[in-house]
């Protein structure tokens, strides 16, 4: 099966995925859907990073919406208040949030247990309060207006289509870096930590260094996504970066498949586009997500992507058996 061999040859998959992204806009009939694709792309960037942390390394963050929000607000504030160019906002927010994630990661990741989950949960709450209360900077609960539209090195990205390609370029870059990390000494160390911290450490893996490293990297992905979001929407408010969004991100990782980058994108695409199809459920959106999460966990505990993979494998095996039964000579 093609999907199966793609998992084994991620670079071939990467090329096909690039072509898919390139052609996708031509298949949508309604411009509104370009909009949805852009948000899917932005969410995918966060979820890929979160999957490196949660799926590969087994560390849980309940505050990735905060990193995403900080990415959006830092560049937003610099742009709206001081007319900084977007690229400056990106660099500053990467540095600031990188340091913040490092400072949170050092003490919490050294300890065993779920300290990271708790610390990031706390971080999410504190950051959310900052967004709400620091009116003079953030615009408070009613939001921050006047963020400049994206423009990089003199090139404006003012149409939805051009923005779609910009987001796609960032998504592909993120994906490629992540594929490389996963298929390297670092990626093996991360999965080893997930498998057994004690065994990894007796083989010389510096557990806290790798945990902190991947935590910072995943935070930086979220910052980049926040930056893309802020200069796309040009208006941001705290409600986009609350605890519920952190949970939604985790749900995307789990539904897609823990520890599969393609699954992460799949999960992001599914849960981002679902509300568009489920407008009838409007107020029950969260409940519907919860229900989906529970169903997936029960019936496909390895995630939808792997669940489908398993299903396909089983069908192939059945097919082979049938063939064998029919032709006893083979």
């Amino acid at each position: 099966m093609m999907t199966l061999s793609l998992m084994k040859k991620p670079l071939a998959g990467f090329v096909l995925f690039s072509i898919l992204l390139l052609l996708l806009p031509f298949t949508v009939t309604n411009d509104y859907y370009i909009n949805v694709l852009i948000i899917i792309g932005i969410n995918s960037i966060i979820v890929i990073g979160l999957d490196l942390l949660v799926g590969y390394t087994g560390q849980i963050s309940l505050g990735h919406a905060a990193f995403y929000g900080l990415g959006a607000y830092i560049t937003g504030i610099l742009s709206a208040r001081w007319a900084w160019p977007p690229i400056g906002g990106l660099l500053i927010s990467l540095v600031m949030v990188g340091i913040l994630a490092f400072l949170i990661g050092i003490p919490t990741l050294k300890l065993h247990g779920h300290y990271l989950a708790m610390a990031t949960l706390g971080l999410g709450i504190i950051v959310f309060i900052f967004f709400q209360e620091l009116d003079f900077l953030t615009g408070g609960p009613s939001g921050l207006v006047g963020i400049a539209p994206m423009s990089l090195f003199g090139i404006p990205f003012d149409s939805d289509l051009s923005y779609y390609y910009l987001v796609s370029a960032f998504l592909l870059a993120t994906l490629l870096l992540s594929i490389n990390v996963v298929r390297s000494r670092v990626g093996r160390a991360l999965r080893a930590i997930h498998g057994s911290e004690v065994a990894a450490s007796v083989l010389g893996v510096n557990i806290s260094r790798f945990k902190v490293g991947i935590f910072v990297l995943s935070a930086l992905y979220a910052v980049t996504a926040g930056w893309l979001y802020a200069h796309y929407i040009t208006f941001i408010s705290p409600s986009s970066f609350g605890f519920m969004f952190s949970i939604k991100l985790i749900t995307m990782v789990v539904i897609g498949s823990l520890g599969s980058l393609w699954g992460a994108i799949f999960g992001a695409a599914l849960l981002t586009s679902l509300p568009e199809f489920l407008v009838v459920f409007e107020n029950y959106e969260t409940s519907v997500f919860g229900l989906i999460l529970i169903l997936v966990m029960i019936f496909m505990p390895r995630g939808l992507m792997r669940g489908l993979e398993d299903l396909i494998k089983r069908m192939i095996d059945l097919g082979r058996q049938n063939l064998k039964e029919r032709s006893p000579t083979s």
Partner: protein, 253 residues
Amino acid sequence: MNPVLKTEGLSKHFGGVKALDQLDLEISKGAIQSIIGPNGAGKTTLFNVISNVIPPTGGEVLFNGVKITRKQTHTIAAMGLTRTFQNLRLFSEMTVLENVMVGMHLRSKGGFFSSALKLPWVFREERRIREESREWLRFVGLHDHTDRIAGSLPFGNQRILELARALASKPQLLMLDEPAAGLNMRETQDMVQLISRIRDLDITVVLVEHDMDLVMEVSERVTVLDQGRKIAEGDPEAIRKDEAVLKAYLGEE
């Protein structure tokens, strides 16, 4: 000759239980030394404390004359000391080959930045890791299972894989915690063969084992622990006849 590993007054208490009680121990270079003793004698605890998976209550551990008592486990590993586990701790979701490749962690350098960008030297290093890991699998005889998920191997092979993974780090000192536990007679024989071949790699082996025949067959020296203390030490023949040892084992029943 200076010992590779030495413990001085090493103690570990779990509440009232003295798992290790003022233990002085010396392991000399190049030998296979076995540590035996009844259940609960403190053998696994000794390994845990030496590798600092759990901190000691008191005493010191010296490796090549250097104090490692308060060093982190991964630092100790980097100095050339690694181990296996009585209850297997494979990376069970990873393939057989990948497990061994993690074993080569210390002997390679690729970090976040260089790996993400796949710099040319990382590419070459990765190939070296892969090739040498395959050789280790050939060395232990698991080369037909390279791409299987480690957790799906039969138990005996999992024990061998854990050994291959430890070997891939090319330690100076390798501590094996009951490598034959749960193996059938034939697998045990294979394990004996394998352990003998490890000695030829210039690796000092410390072996904890219940299987007396195995101990007598491979080890040059035997230390007997009981209730966290050393009750006898000597060559296998002497230990077989030792009064205190017989008493410790019989007293158990």
